[in-house]
């Protein structure tokens, strides 16, 4: 029987991303009439093992990969995914890094940032953005395996429990020529951008780092929001790179996305298009962001943000 393989990194645990990959894998396997198998690269905790065993017939854990290193991780994935019809990954750093190499090593076809997977006539079809979010594109995968990273948090988790078996997998791991020697995680208060229900995002129009700290941070505070930014603000060094929302930044889906002094370039919209409600503060009534807003205000942020913060405080008390 043919099989679909999902690959997860133990570091992220059984988070919403992992659940989305498992759901996508389950549905793809059902569509192809295949089994679903899962590989965990790194020592998995019980939540991850149990979550996966509910969705996949077989779960293989490579505990020997204590910490992620690109070459051993790639080698382990290649040896365990060989022969699969399709291999799915999430959209974290390590997954995005591994997918093209793994696809080529296995003689298959790589695909990035899949928003939708479908099976038609036994072939895998993928829908994703193209041209910086200005268009949607559909692909049919021709080479096998199709090795795809999916926009995992936006995909439904799997239903039911197939009662899969969990086992330890032993694979031969090559010596790493390239070694990751330092790992820095930014201390994050509360939710991450990807998990945030409310986001306050700032752009180039803010003019510098100070407004992010002095005006947007207090506003985000009263709104219980996580702060984000456009690429322009990140490139200027005003805020860290991992605040970036967009095509090459975080893909977010909050209840409310408040864009302040952001023009709304297609590449930015690509990252926040799944927001329930978008609102904007911008001096330019013709800024493209207003074409994607539910409500907005055409004013200088300097006049709006402090006043808005004050009013929200009053409403809450």
């Amino acid at each position: 029987m043919s099989r679909v393989q999902i690959v997860l990194f133990s570091k992220n645990g059984w988070d919403r991303g992992a659940q989305g990959v498992a759901g996508a894998g389950r549905r793809l396997a059902d569509g192809l009439g295949a089994e679903l198998h899962a590989v965990v690269l790194g020592p998995a905790d019980d939540a991850l093992k149990n979550g996966l065993a509910a969705a996949a017939q077989k779960v293989q854990v490579v505990s020997a990969l204590e910490e992620y290193q690109p070459e051993p991780a790639l080698a382990a994935a290649a040896s365990l995914c060989d022969g699969a019809a399709a291999v799915l990954f999430g959209n974290d750093t390590y997954s995005q890094e591994i997918v093209p190499r793994l696809a080529h090593r296995l003689g298959g076809a790589p695909m990035a940032d899949a928003q939708k997977l479908e099976v038609k006539d036994g072939r895998i079809h993928v829908t994703r953005s193209a041209y910086g979010g200005k268009a949607l594109s559909e692909y049919v995968m021709k080479a096998t395996p199709a090795v795809i990273w999916v926009r995992s948090r936006a995909l439904e988790p799997a239903e039911g429990d197939v009662g899969g078996a969990v086992e330890e997998a032993t694979v031969e791991l090559p010596e790493a020529k390239l070694r990751i020697t330092e790992r820095h995680e930014e201390a994050q208060e509360g939710a991450s951008l990807e998990e945030a229900e409310i986001i306050v995002s700032g752009g180039r129009g803010l003019g510098g780092p100070e407004p992010f700290e002095q005006m947007l941070a207090p506003l985000a505070d009263v709104m219980h929001a996580v702060q984000g930014a456009s690429r322009a603000a990140c490139d200027a060094g005003w805020v860290p790179p991992n605040w970036q929302v967009g095509q090459t930044g975080k893909k977010v889906a909050p209840e409310l996305y408040l864009a302040i002094a952001i023009s709304g370039a297609s590449q930015h919209l690509l990252g926040m298009g799944d927001s329930k409600v978008v609102a904007a503060i911008n001096t330019d009534a013709d800024a493209p962001i207003f074409k994607h807003c539910s409500f907005g205000i055409v004013e200088d942020y300097k006049n709006v943000v402090p006043l808005l913060t004050e009013k929200l405080k009053e409403m809450q008390s």
């Binding site: 190499r101 193209a130 390239l178 820095h184 709104m223 490139d235 991992n242 090459t248 209840e255 074409k291």
Partner: protein, 269 residues
């Protein structure tokens, strides 16, 4: 330090959405009316390479592209940014090469051009945004690779790489040769070439190579052999209309804005 930077020319991604048209028959963007520019991440890669050359106290940076004759413009711009050599692998046959074909062609060129300590590519192209070429090329050349790199420094006889992750950064070390996929940060914003260097760039030599000269067989990289195929390309409908908050004064307008925001915030928390 001998560095190869792979660059790609694409349709200007800054083309406003209202001017963006699709050529339905070819399932690609209609090139009419759009400029061609070097992919931004390739320019970030060029900038990173040039800074590394400075930090290493010398070395050679070669820019290469696989594309039509018109892609020469991107190489001239790279020369104006002061890369040392430029190579155009001419593609006058294949309308839509995929990453696997491009990776094979670039690997053949890299082998022919000499021993590179470091191969650099962009994290993804601003047109299709697939981000596959670097991985394929690393496999073809058998090199260790790291993605999302935003800084490269000399480190004894090796290299120190810094890269972005989902919620922070990582540092890696490697002895050359290696391949890195470059992403943007505040330090690799591409330099604006000096007028003098722009003029000079047209006098610098530019090497052109054909697929025959590289010994790449047509079947290996030709149309119809792609690992996947585009079946549809369209502009999605958007039906949101923005309501601008109303009021006679700034205070009234912001109060209305606050009321709407408060409604959502209160429902979430």
């Amino acid at each position: 330090m001998n560095i190869l930077v792979c660059i790609k020319q694409i349709l200007d991604p800054d083309l406003p959405a209202r001017d963006f048209k699709i050529d339905a028959a070819n399932k690609e963007a209609d090139p009419k009316g759009a400029n061609k520019v070097t992919n931004i991440f390739c320019e970030n890669a060029l900038e990173t390479a040039l800074q590394l050359r400075e930090k290493a106290g010398g070395g050679k940076v070669t820019a290469i592209t696989y594309g039509p004759e018109g892609a020469e413009d991107s190489l001239r711009k790279a020369l104006a940014m002061t890369v040392d050599e430029a190579v155009l692998v001419i593609n006058d046959k294949h309308s839509k090469p995929d990453a696997i074909a491009v990776g094979k062609v670039l690997a053949a060129a890299a082998r022919k051009l000499g021993d590179f300590d470091l191969v650099m590519v962009g994290r993804e192209s601003g047109d299709w945004g697939l981000g596959q070429t670097g991985g394929v090329l690393a496999e073809e050349l058998g090199l260790p690779s790291l993605a999302f790199v935003d800084e490269v420094d000399p480190d004894g006889d090796g290299l120190k790489l810094q890269r972005q992750t989902d919620n922070g950064s990582e540092v890696a070390t490697v002895k050359p040769p290696a391949l890195v996929l470059i992403t943007n940060n505040e330090n690799n914003v591409p330099r604006i070439p000096k007028t003098r260097d722009v003029m000079m760039s047209y006098r610098k030599p530019l090497q052109k190579l054909t697929l025959e000269e590289l010994g790449v067989a047509d079947e290996a990289v030709g149309d119809g052999h792609t690992a996947f195929e585009v079946t549809n390309l369209y502009v999605p409908e958007k039906s949101v209309s923005c309501e601008f908050v109303q009021g006679d004064s700034l205070d009234e307008k912001v109060t209305e804005l606050a009321r709407r925001i408060h409604g959502i915030v209160a429902s979430v928390n």
